[in-house]
Amino acid sequence: MAISKEEVIHIAKLADLNLSEDEIEKYTKDMQEILEFANRINNVDTSEMTETIAANEKSNVFRKDEVVKFENREVLLSNAPSQDEGMFRIPKVLN
């Protein structure tokens, strides 16, 4: 299984990353190695095993449906580069 330069560019775009030519070269090689590593797992015979749907064996960790108020909007907004009337202000988003 080989990964192409185009695929790396596509994945970078989905992740909102701007990569330089050098970085594209580097990541194409790195991702190739990651895929090869993952492929070893693909080759394990799992026909006798039950399906694993999560890495963690625990299940059913739930919360009760009870309101706990946080009540500190100021601190929640404190890292916002810009805010107005209790909201994050961001560059205009077109509908």
Partner: protein, 481 residues
């Protein structure tokens, strides 16, 4: 090819906000309409290092929805991440479900002109709602309010079984009604707690292949869903007839111009790179858990409908109408309990109450009076205290202010006049004033009686007992013979 040679194929993805008290992964309130960013905490605001914990009620409500729509329940379920960038999505991923939705393979039944039709449901999964973007007209930017971010949703995905805008509307109304009955959502479309993405394609009748579909996102009224489907169907047929191809794309429905426009969709928008959510553990449901929820489900519209026909002798039409909404149905049952007259209660709901709601552009969930008032109203009609025309006026009053009908008619002086002497007086007065009608009647024009009764009703502002009026008019008119 003629228009009749095409058929439209519609599938709906219905999003429904669950009426839990708290959000899906944190303990913030889900209440609608708070001050911006006051129903928020570090978890739903996606602060680094925070971890989600699933609300147990969300699982319960989704399983309820699945059982009420004939779905199978997935006993080994999990959450997945759906990755996309948008300012209303603070984590840059939405926690949803991908290959193990909680519910799958269900259906609901809708009534069509050709009889009942099953609409299959592919899946129901749980996910979190996004925040809200506000825009201002001065171009100062956009403003992000995350109160809604993390409010629990179920998404109900239908199979492409719908063949007209009308069927799509019936299907959506059916889901709304079921979700109201099982009390998992307030289903307020105007507040966005029930909305749909509508997929539309057209194809030659008889063709097995589907045409290319377009998707209209976030439709939040029945009227717009119907209009948008009708418009989009015509547009697609026109394109094909003109030799053009349909592009698979997302469209925005503009309700003012009544047209659809391509959305400036980000390329690769559908490349969501789902993967299992590593911050949450799997959801394992036992048969006991599922059966317990099944046993606790309230009576569903299908069963009520049957009971109303069998036990109360309602017509099929009335039974369908009354059970179309939990609010009508509960009103009906409460009122019948009091007045023991299902036929009149059913008729008042189907004709007058529905008409007034329609005039006010309101839905049954906004009804403020209860079966207590409606039951007394019907009792007052049955006892002859008020006429049915006064009853309609009392209903109008009930929409303005909830009071007992007996109190309303007392205050308004609307008690029916059943005193024979008083009515006789009116009859005589009307006869004196309308000699032409009297001779018309005597000449064999029976219609003239109706006119005279009408005049007497006008004279008494609708308060005269109609049977008594009729009787006295006939007596008086016969006297002269």
């Amino acid at each position: 090819m003629a228009r009749e040679d095409y058929e439209v194929v519609i599938g709906l993805e219905v999003h429904c906000e669950l009426s839990t008290k708290t959000k899906i992964f944190c303990s913030c309130s889900t209440e609608f309409g708070g001050e911006p960013n006051t129903h928020c905490c570090p978890i739903c605001m996606a602060m680094p290092g925070t971890l989600p914990v699933l609300n147990e009620k969300v699982v319960e409500y989704a399983v309820k929805a699945g059982l009420a729509t004939n779905c199978s329940i997935e006993k080994n379920s999990k959450n997945d991440r759906k990755n996309y960038f948008y300012p209303d999505n603070p984590k840059s991923y939405q926690i949803s479900q991908y290959d193990k939705p909680l519910c799958y393979d269900g259906y609901v039944t809708i009534e069509t002109e050709e009889g009942e039709k099953k609409i299959r449901i592919e899946r129901i999964h749980i996910e979190e709602d996004a925040g809200k973007l506000n825009h201002d007209e001065y171009g100062r930017g956009s403003f992000v309010d995350l109160n809604r971010a993390g409010v629990p949703l179920i998404e109900v995905v239908s199979k492409p079984d719908l063949r007209s805008a009308k069927e799509a509307e019936s299907y959506m109304r059916k889901l709304k009604s079921i979700f109201e009955y099982i009390e998992i959502s307030d289903c307020k479309m105007e507040q966005g707690s029930l909305r749909a993405d509508v997929n539309v394609s057209v194809r030659k009748k008889g063709s097995k292949e589907f045409g290319t579909r377009t998707e209209m996102k976030n439709m939040n009224s029945f009227r717009n869903i119907v209009r948008a489907i009708e418009y989009e169907t015509e547009r697609q047929i026109d394109e094909i007839e003109n030799g053009n191809e349909i592009m698979q794309e997302s469209l925005r429905w503009d309700e003012i111009s009544g047209r659809t426009f391509p959305m400036r969709d980000k390329e690769d928008a559908d490349d969501y790179r789902y993967f299992p959510e590593p911050d949450l553990v799997s959801i394992k449901l036992s048969d006991e858990y599922i059966n317990k929820i099944k046993n606790e489900l309230p009576e569903l519209p299908e069963s009520r409908r049957k009971r109303y026909i069998d036990d109360y002798n309602l017509t099929e039409k009335a039974a369908n109408f009354v059970t179309s909404s939990k609010y009508y149905s509960n009103l009906f049952e409460e009122a019948v309990e009091i007045c023991k007259n299902p036929k009149t209660v059913g008729n008042l709901i189907m004709s007058d109450i529905a008409r007034i709601l329609n005039e006010r552009e309101e839905e049954p969930d906004s009804l403020k009076f209860t079966g207590k008032e409606l039951g007394e109203l019907v009792t007052l009609i049955d006892k002859g205290t008020i006429s049915s025309s006064i009853a309609k006026k009392v209903l109008e009053e009930l929409f303005n202010e909830v009071k007992m009908p007996s109190k309303i008619i007392e205050e308004k002086g609307w008690v029916q006049i059943s005193d024979e002497n008083a009515i006789k007086e009116v009859v005589e007065k009307v006869l004196d004033a309308n000699p032409q009608s009297v001779s018309d009647y005597k000449a064999g024009k029976d219609k003239a009686l109706g006119f005279l009764v009408g005049q007497a009703m006008k004279e008494t502002k609708g308060k005269a007992n109609p049977q008594m009026l009729n009787k006295l008019f006939l007596e008086e008119l016969k006297k002269g013979e």
